[in-house]
Amino acid sequence: MTPEPKGRLKGGPVARGKRRRAEQLMVPEAEFTSYYGRPVIKEPAWGVPDIAGYLFLGGLAGASSVLAAGAHASGYGELARVAKVTALGAISLSAVALVHDLGRPERFANMLRVFKPTSPMSVGSWLLSAYGPLAGAAAVSDLTGILPAAGTAATLGAGLLGPAVATYTAALICDTAVPGWHEGHREMPYLFAGSASCAAAGLGLLTLPPEAARPARTLATLGAPAELAAKRLLLRRLGDIAEPYETGRPGRLLRAAELLTVGGLAGAVLGRRNRAVSALAGASLLAASALTRFGVFEAGLVTARDPKYTIVPQRRRRGMN
């Protein structure tokens, strides 16, 4: 891998698609001034293992509930059980990570003090407080056989809220001043939905024989291409700001994620009669989803840290460069 020269930011598509002009592709390295190279915006006060991990775990939980409801309805009981337990485990770990990331963890309940549609975190808090108990009831009922009718209802309820749990995190990170997230807000939700599908499908494929995991395989064949396509569109939209998505540590994470997604998809389809291949494919998809979330998270932080990602696109928006 050849190291990219630092400070590419030379023309390329402008962050706002409509204003894109062909000649800007030929513009030399953008000149910009900053205050002693200091960042213009503050890096979000979110921890990498906590919140990046939550992006992955929340996706895994939400999509697992979708998979659980689908498998439950179509008679794949073992897969439904695995997915329900996964959803409960992942959302429980998510809650721990979210509370741990607070500056004042003992005040976590203040999240439900108000409901604000302008705050994706507020919407998410209410969503999780409805979804968590449903995911829990679905798993516990399945494991213990208690109240099967209520368990089915909870499975369906969690399956209905699961898509929102898996995708609202895109709104969470895109509704910030971080250029590498905000400017990608049109593509990020699809990327997250695809990545979440891969994670849930991957866990099903990893833990069950291929014949018992058929719906998981179907979900992988839907989710993986969606994720790959959304990522392409995201990078095209970001233009110059895509640089951290392609270079450095986040670039390496995302490249590995892409290889694992492609490999996992191929393995899931080709290994439909081979337990080992199918399981390996599942592990690849699961790992790919985690790497994607960490890559996206860290790439955004890079665009917050370096003032050029804030200043150059804004100057161009004002027609000053």
Partner: protein, 274 residues
């Protein structure tokens, strides 16, 4: 179109919107504003290291620096053009929370700790903030930050307590040159327009008002500035737009993506085990 943020926040009757006009052309870099702010608001010490950035050792706004004086040293030609001599122009500017009309930090705060006051300013309630950090990444100016010591978000309150008692904020009170002017925002905007016209007539070609326009990306600042160079020279974003302007679009795409995932689930559920 000028929006009345206090009325929009639900105050039927309220005092006029109050704000700061920081005229950097008369700032002498004395940092009295930084000190007065610290003293009055009991803001803790924020590091005592030398930064190497001219006389600026507070480096930027943060949880424990609510006024920050920037120092910029620029090489400029001096004397007759034939002499080709270089001199130094020293720009100084006291930065502060902008108390945006459309305030990203307030919009994204999930607890309601950030609120709009009757003066149209934006304030954090210390007893409500749970330190989620969302406001930090949502501010287009990098103003608000989380303090290590207490885990909560802090920023300029435009001396909400002093305003309530009919006093001006500590920084404006302490400013010896009236670089920091406090008053009803409408009056400040009129005064600023006259001042920038004077400076331009006197040959300051880059003199410009920053965040004075109610039609800009944040609906105008409750604190706005007269700058002698481009905003980014002072560490300010050249064209800030509040992130929540795009939130309807963000929710739309989240909804479509979620619907897609739900449709996939439905397709799975309609299958039959073979």
């Amino acid at each position: 179109m000028s929006v009345d943020p206090a009325a929009r926040a639900g105050y039927p009757e309220h005092p006029p919107r109050m704000g700061f006009f920081t005229d950097t052309s008369v700032c002498i870099g004395c940092k009295a504003c930084e000190v007065a702010c610290k003293e009055w608001n009991a803001v803790p010490e924020d590091g005592l290291a030398l930064s190497g950035m001219s006389y600026d050792n507070t480096v930027g706004l943060g949880a424990s620096t609510w006024r920050h004086v920037a120092f910029i040293e620029q090489s400029i030609p001096v004397g007759p053009p034939s002499a080709a001599a270089e001199g130094v122009r020293w720009l100084m500017s006291s930065d502060v929370c902008k108390h945006c009309t459309e305030s990203g930090c307030l919009d994204v705060c999930p607890t309601g700790a950030l609120f709009r006051t009757e003066f149209g300013t934006v304030v954090v309630q210390d007893d409500v903030c749970n330190g989620c950090g969302y406001c930090v990444g949502a501010c287009p100016f990098g103003v608000i930050a989380r303090r290590e010591e207490d885990g909560q978000a802090h920023k300029c309150t435009l001396c909400y307590d002093r305003l309530g008692a009919g006093m001006e904020p500590a920084c404006a009170k302490a400013c010896p040159t009236d670089s920091i002017q406090f008053g009803p925002l409408d009056e400040l905007r009129e005064r600023a327009a006259l001042r920038v016209a004077d400076l331009r007539a006197a040959g300051q070609d880059h003199a410009q008002l920053y965040l004075n326009d109610p039609d800009d990306g944040i609906g105008g600042g409750g604190a706005f500035f007269l700058l002698l160079d481009e905003p980014e020279v002072y560490g300010l974003p050249p064209d800030p737009v509040v992130t929540t302007r795009d939130l309807p679009g963000i929710w739309k795409h989240v909804g479509l993506a979620a619907a897609g995932l739900a449709a996939a689930g439905l397709a799975l559920g309609l299958g039959r085990r073979k």
